[in-house]
Structure formats: structure tokens, C-alpha cells
């Protein structure tokens, strides 16, 4: 039995709600700001936690990433029509390390621990069953979606909130990525021959996943079904992309599904780094073929790189565009580096199948295949 997706919550640089993201996608404008630290960044709007949560003294230990994550989780439960307490739900969040200096607090340790975000989110949503924190680098939130789908498919949980949040627009985070040589000084151009790195960003997206019987029993609208999942790791390469791990994850996600390639949309990881996109394009060409009749888009070109949150955020942006029946194209793409069918402009299309890919430092690769309803 597969898991179904019944709710979405997201805060991204394009907007603090799905409706705002949907509206911003029509403007063809990538929300980029110059930063004092030498590289452009893509910050997210304020998530209005006070309005969503009310007063709660534990919020003082939430980092920016934690605030965004909690807001997305609350939105997701509302979107799915769920009411608190969610005592039988699981929570699985893909998060990242807090890289900025600790706040002046006695218990700054709590702010520095990603698990605090998971704990506070569970407390606010009155989740009492299981809560896990996944730290799988830039694959973390996709990994969380995969763990959630598998928990449901294996009968371990009827209802899981899964996704992730991150913030990489502060001074230390930007410096860390700059040291790795992966940032653009202008704009992201995924899969363009002139790409020169990514735009550091922030945001969060959380999804409600359910056992189909659980969703049916409460009359929930099903947005998609999780059909396949793939995880792989190549720990021998900490920063270089691992085509083998990428391919293993993607093949595992596609295995057994009778996908009509013409109805498949690939949400590529597309970091716009020279090495990352080259490896991903070669991997995809080998798996789907150079005459692939579906389409490939790269939504980081719209929202920057959400780090641990990127996969979940990109999936949420895709669903926001689907509210108006289109798929966003790749911003900034002029000279493709591959013969893959890259979307360069928005396409009115409701793909039947969506493959989401996320790859992280440490050779962590995650891919998830959805069938849309």
C-alpha cells in the first residue's frame, strides 16, 4: 500500500503561503537581494508565527529555520484539514546545522540543536507519537518525505508530517558556501553552459502524508500518490557530485512504476554549479535517454537553494504552480548544457508523474516518484 499526499505548507522566497507563491510565480521575478557579505541571497518573508501559533515561550529557542519550518507545518495541517491534537501522527523533518553565532541566551544550546525545531513543532501540533530529525545535507527534506512514505507503506504510521526547513542567508552560511566555491555572484542559471553557482536561500515546506485508508476515512482530498522512493550514498566524495549515487537513487524511485515518459516531469536538483549540473544531466540522459519525451525543470532558479529544505520547497512550488495548471520553466537558462528537454518557459501542463531529485554533500542522493491525481 502506498502513501498519499493530502496537504502542503510552505514558506519560500516567493511567498509565505502557497497562494503568495502561486501569485509570485506569475511575475517571472526571482526574489534576489544583494547581501552585505558579497553574494546575492534569497530571503523568505516573515512567516507570521504569532498569528499561526499565538503566544508560546518555547518559540524563543527557534532559529530562523525553525520558525519557517513550524509555520510550514501548521499551514500543511490546515491545508489537509487536520485538527489538533495529532497524537497519532509522526513528524519527520529534514533540517540543517545552525551556522550563525548563537543568540545571547542561557540555553543557546537549544537554539543550536536542529532537534529543538522538531520538538517545538511536535509540541505545537500536539504530536505525541514519533518525531525524527533527518540531517542529510541538501537531500534532507526529500529524505524525510521518503522516510515518511516508507513508514506509511510499511504500516508503521497512518499519518506523517514530513518536509524540512533551512536558512542559509546569514553571514556565516554565505561565507561557508563561498569557501566551497559554489555561489553565483549574479543569478542562478541551472543547466546553462554559463552557470556559475547557486543563490543561497531560506524557507521550509512540510507535507501531510497518509495511508490511503486513513485519508479516505476522513474524506481528505488526495493530491498525489508516492509511487517510488530511492536513497543512495557515496561517502567517498564529500563535495564532488556522485553520478553513481544519483543514478542509484533515481533508478530505485522509478523501479517498478509503469511510467509513460511523455507524462513525466523531472524536478531536477539543478544547483547551477558547473560540476553538479554536468553530473546530474549526464545521469538523467543515461536513465531517461536523450530523446526523453517528458520535461525537466529546475525550481532552484526561482527560489534559490534552500539547502536542507530544497527538495520539499521545490515540490511545494511545483504544486503552487499546478493550482493554475502550469509548470514553471528554468529561469536564467539561455544556452543549455544538455540535450535533455529543459523547460525554458512556463508550460501549461498537468504531468501525470513527477520525479523529485535532491543531492547533498556527502554523496547523499534522494529521489521520489509521485503520481498525480
Amino acid at each position: 500500500m502506498k502513501a498519499v499526499l493530502t496537504g502542503i505548507g510552505a514558506v519560500t522566497p516567493l511567498g509565505a503561503t502557497l497562494q503568495d507563491i502561486h501569485a509570485a510565480l506569475k511575475t517571472q521575478h526571482v526574489p534576489t537581494l544583494p547581501s552585505p557579505w558579497g553574494f546575492p541571497i534569497a530571503p523568505a518573508p516573515e512567516p507570521n508565527l504569532r498569528g499561526l501559533v499565538g503566544r508560546d515561550k518555547n518559540l524563543r529557542y527557534l532559529t530562523r529555520a525553525g520558525q519557517l519550518t513550524l509555520a510550514a507545518a501548521i499551514q500543511a495541517t490546515a491545508h489537509a484539514g487536520l485538527k489538533r491534537p495529532l497524537s497519532h501522527a509522526h513528524l519527520i523533518l529534514g533540517l540543517g546545522p545552525h551556522l550563525e553565532p548563537p543568540p545571547p541566551q542561557a540555553l543557546w544550546l537549544l537554539s543550536a540543536m536542529p532537534a529543538t525545531t522538531t520538538a517545538v513543532t511536535a509540541a505545537v501540533l500536539e504530536i505525541r507519537h514519533e518525531a525524527s530529525t533527518i540531517l542529510g545535507a541538501c537531500a534532507a527534506s526529500t529524505q524525510a518525505l521518503i522516510m515518511a512514505s516508507r513508514s506509511i507503506a510499511e504500516g508503521r504510521a497512518p499519518l506523517v508530517l514530513a518536509g524540512g526547513g533551512d536558512s542559509r542567508v546569514g553571514e556565516r552560511a554565505v561565507a561557508a558556501y563561498a569557501a566551497a566555491g559554489v555561489l553565483t555572484s549574479t543569478a542562478m542559471r541551472p543547466f546553462d553552459i554559463n552557470r556559475d553557482g547557486f543563490l543561497p536561500a531560506e524557507g521550509a515546506a512540510v507535507f501531510v502524508l497518509e495511508h490511503p485508508a486513513h485519508a479516505a476515512a476522513r474524506g481528505a482530498e488526495v493530491l498525489a500518490e508516492v509511487v517510488g522512493t530511492g536513497l543512495a550514498v557515496d561517502g567517498s566524495r564529500l563535495t564532488a557530485p556522485s553520478p553513481e549515487a544519483m543514478a542509484a537513487a533515481v533508478r530505485a524511485a522509478l523501479a517498478g512504476a509503469e511510467v509513460n515518459p511523455a507524462e513525466l516531469l523531472v524536478l531536477a536538483h539543478g544547483t547551477a554549479t558547473p560540476a553538479g549540473d554536468a553530473a546530474e544531466a549526464a545521469m538523467l540522459e543515461a536513465i531517461v535517454g536523450s530523446t526523453f519525451p517528458g520535461a525537466v525543470t529546475a525550481l532552484k532558479s526561482w527560489i534559490g537553494h534552500g539547502a536542507a529544505a530544497c527538495g520539499a520547497m521545490e515540490l511545494a512550488v511545483f504544486f503552487a504552480a499546478q493550482q493554475a495548471g502550469f509548470v514553471p520553466g528554468i529561469q536564467g537558462l539561455c544556452h543549455p548544457c544538455t540535450t535533455l528537454p529543459l523547460l525554458r518557459t512556463p508550460r501549461p501542463w498537468r504531468p501525470r508523474w513527477v520525479l523529485l531529485e535532491s543531492f547533498g554533500f556527502g554523496g547523499i542522493a534522494a529521489a521520489i516518484l509521485l503520481r498525480l491525481t
Binding site: 515561550k57 524563543r60 541566551q105 542561557a106 540555553l107
Partner: protein, 120 residues
């Protein structure tokens, strides 16, 4: 100073500052836990520049001081005045009257501490 202390408490406890007065009890009225008091102490140091000793600021060793006073036949008010020089004699007598009702710490005690220890 009162407004500054109330602003810190409201911020840490995530409360409406207008619900807090000098007479508000931190533990009895606001339900402050030890972790909250720790944060209030750090915020007073960080935002107001006041050197904080948590035991004195939060009257945390009050009952220990009183027991030692009893053992050494020292008047309770004298022992408290010596340990907490920021408290007035009137406040010390009020505390001694109030002991049976639970933790005695009031917002006014934090204001008195901050005023007494304010860097010159």
C-alpha cells in the same frame, strides 16, 4: 528600569507586558521555570549590562539563608539584608510574612537588583 525589566520578562515568557507589574510574582503568577529565570538573568546582563548572580537576583538561596540564620541565632531580617543588599527593609519584612504562600520573588525584586547593581 521597571519598564526595561518588564520588557525582558514579557519577551522571555512571551507575554503581553501590560499584564506584568512590579507586584507580579514570577513563579506564582507567571509560572516561570528555572530555565526561564536563567534566560531572564542572561537578558539582564546582555541588554542592560548588569552583572548578574542568579542566586541573589532570583532569591534562590533564600530558604538556605534563613536556615543558616536560625542555626546561628541571627535575626532572619538581618541575614536577608546581608545576603540581598538590594532589598529594602520593608521588602524583607514583607518577604518574611509571605514565605508560607510559596516562592516570593516579585518583579520589583528584579528591578531593585538591577538598580542596585547598575554599572555607574
Amino acid at each position: 528600569m521597571t519598564d526595561a525589566i518588564i520588557a525582558i520578562i514579557a519577551d522571555i515568557m512571551d507575554m503581553d507586558p501590560t499584564a506584568i507589574t512590579q507586584a507580579t510574582y514570577l513563579v506564582r503568577d507567571l509560572g516561570a521555570e528555572s530555565i526561564d529565570l536563567l534566560e531572564i538573568g542572561v537578558a539582564m546582563e546582555h541588554r542592560l549590562g548588569i552583572p548578574v548572580q542568579d542566586d541573589a537576583l532570583f532569591l534562590r538561596d533564600l530558604r538556605l539563608v534563613l536556615r543558616l540564620a536560625e542555626e546561628t541565632n541571627t535575626p532572619a531580617a538581618t541575614a536577608l539584608a546581608s545576603r540581598y543588599p538590594h532589598l529594602t527593609s520593608a521588602r524583607i519584612h514583607a518577604i518574611l510574612e509571605d514565605l508560607a504562600n510559596g516562592p516570593v520573588l516579585q518583579v520589583a525584586d528584579l528591578v531593585a537588583y538591577a538598580t542596585f547593581h547598575r554599572p555607574s
